[in-house]
Subunit: 374 residues, 2 copies
Amino acid sequence: MEKFKVTPWDVKGAVDYSKLIKEFGTEPINDALLSRIKKHTKELHFMLRRKIFFCHRDMSWLLDEHEKGNKFFLYTGRASSKGGVHLGHLIPWMFAQWMQEKFDAEMWFQFPDEEKFLFSKDISLEETEKSTLEDALDVIALGFDSKKTHFLIDTKHAGLMYKHACRVAKKITLSTVKASFGFENDANIGMIFYTAMQAVPAILPSVLKEKNIPCLIPLGVDQDTHFRVSRDVMPKLGYYKPAIIHNIFLPGLKENGKMSASDTNSAIFTTDSPKDVESKIKKYAFSGGQASVEEHKKKGGNPDADVSYQYLRMLLEQDDKKLEKIYNDYKSGKMTTAELKDITIEKINAFLKEHQKKREQARKQLDRFIYKEK
Amino acid sequence: MEKFKVTPWDVKGAVDYSKLIKEFGTEPINDALLSRIKKHTKELHFMLRRKIFFCHRDMSWLLDEHEKGNKFFLYTGRASSKGGVHLGHLIPWMFAQWMQEKFDAEMWFQFPDEEKFLFSKDISLEETEKSTLEDALDVIALGFDSKKTHFLIDTKHAGLMYKHACRVAKKITLSTVKASFGFENDANIGMIFYTAMQAVPAILPSVLKEKNIPCLIPLGVDQDTHFRVSRDVMPKLGYYKPAIIHNIFLPGLKENGKMSASDTNSAIFTTDSPKDVESKIKKYAFSGGQASVEEHKKKGGNPDADVSYQYLRMLLEQDDKKLEKIYNDYKSGKMTTAELKDITIEKINAFLKEHQKKREQARKQLDRFIYKEK
């Protein structure tokens, strides 16, 4: 098996999530935790039922606080690059939107528009600033409550954030970030500092309201390193460590790892046309089927390895029964790869049609979401 | 001779300025440059005549640009600590104020209120923020033109500055700052990034006016390291390298090095009372005189080693003839140490009386000096 790699900037190979839990020191999400969440939310989000969110830090503590009447806020983010938002990005955001609704929680959404600029040779700040405003539309389109959702754009909100980033930075040594992120001497000094900016939204609401408020961060497990470093700092500044809930990666069309915007033929973007989607799925979506229809009918397919099926499971088919039927039919060979791909194409296009409509409507709402200092 | 050390955070020992010129790679200020400056200013500031400003970078280029009609702006700063402003801090600021007047130049004055917080274990941000507002009064009291002077306070103006600090930071590697500043693995990541913030005011006016404007930075030679690092970055971003003019250090009362706010008995602060000044000079000011008055009358004193005399030469006695007389009388033994100290006490107190009055009046003007985004 290919050795996998998961860092905030690079995910490679077939990720072994059990191994990751051990390496990162997170806790797996178990049934006891799920039923405890369900007590509050009545139903469980399909991403929880299906363990798309698979591990966490301090969720039990967060629920303790919630049960004591100590409300938490949500924090997640998007570091814009040249490529736009793809389906994989939506997983933590859709889940966060659901959590906002169920727990009536404030959401602080960070757009660190300096991040990709600092970490990538060929992206300008003008490019990341522009795509930040585009990507923000995708977030709004998912249905966040404008009254309870605050966008922080690092370069624009630095007047609010930099000071607290310095408070965090003072408690993080060079040797810690070198060990945690693998920085070498050729790293630029913006990269070295950046993790302090990513820590700020986890404490900023507490700063602004002058009381200690619990925080929950839903995000892809590749970002865990940042919070492994900064969670230890928070109590030293008088704040709670944020709780975290991590999702697995939506696979790219061609690969087993993580959908990535850098290969446009391996990702489905939220702005793709129905034709784009059809052609990408038909041409590139890795199939768990057999070499010929005859063989497939005889031996059956492997839905667990099939990318189209994974898109249905992780994002598009929320009905467990329908999903189970697809699973069984594909596994038995009753459903061909072409049929499975057709279902997936239809589902994606139905979702994107609605999403793109809301995304355009979001242009007028954008200003309401951007945090304004009181 | 004790080995001396000059870094942005630490000055120790008897500084050999000729050696520093070689080590730092600056140019000594020679008579040709002085007469070229005089062509524009009519008279020469006593700090130029007396080589208190002793070395520079690119001053000839700056005057070339000026003569082509390409006006320059001034930039200097103050990193506030627990201790307030002392006489040594005033040297580059008084000179900068004179330059502003003579060249009708804009002044961008940086107050990096995060600097001492990041570099010192026992200073809080609340303390540096508070003393920044106090120290700003000293700057205003020196007579800067409120219409042409803009205060940048790092934590408050980060919304304007952080973005450009990232542009600078992307071009500075960890190995460069380690070599230049001597950072080890126990340095915090805010210290690593900080030099990028100190670079920003040298390019910000060019950013805001969307044209490339020459910059002159008058400052203590201990700060040179920051600009040795960032000057190389500016052209890569499309801006001129700033010119720099460096002054030598005002000695502390007890020592041969640099007046430092950390030993209150070795520094004269701008808020000291006449009694404080009298007692500090009488008690601590290192004397170039002999052990007894009789011996002094016979052998004469050494004004070059006498701290009181240095205060007159570097800051308080602008009249060359009066200064020369004091020099000769002290050297011959005609003037005793007590008499020299009395003159110095009187001069300092006359200056501080006026300065403290203006300093209090400055409270009302402060808001006008703080840069407001258009």
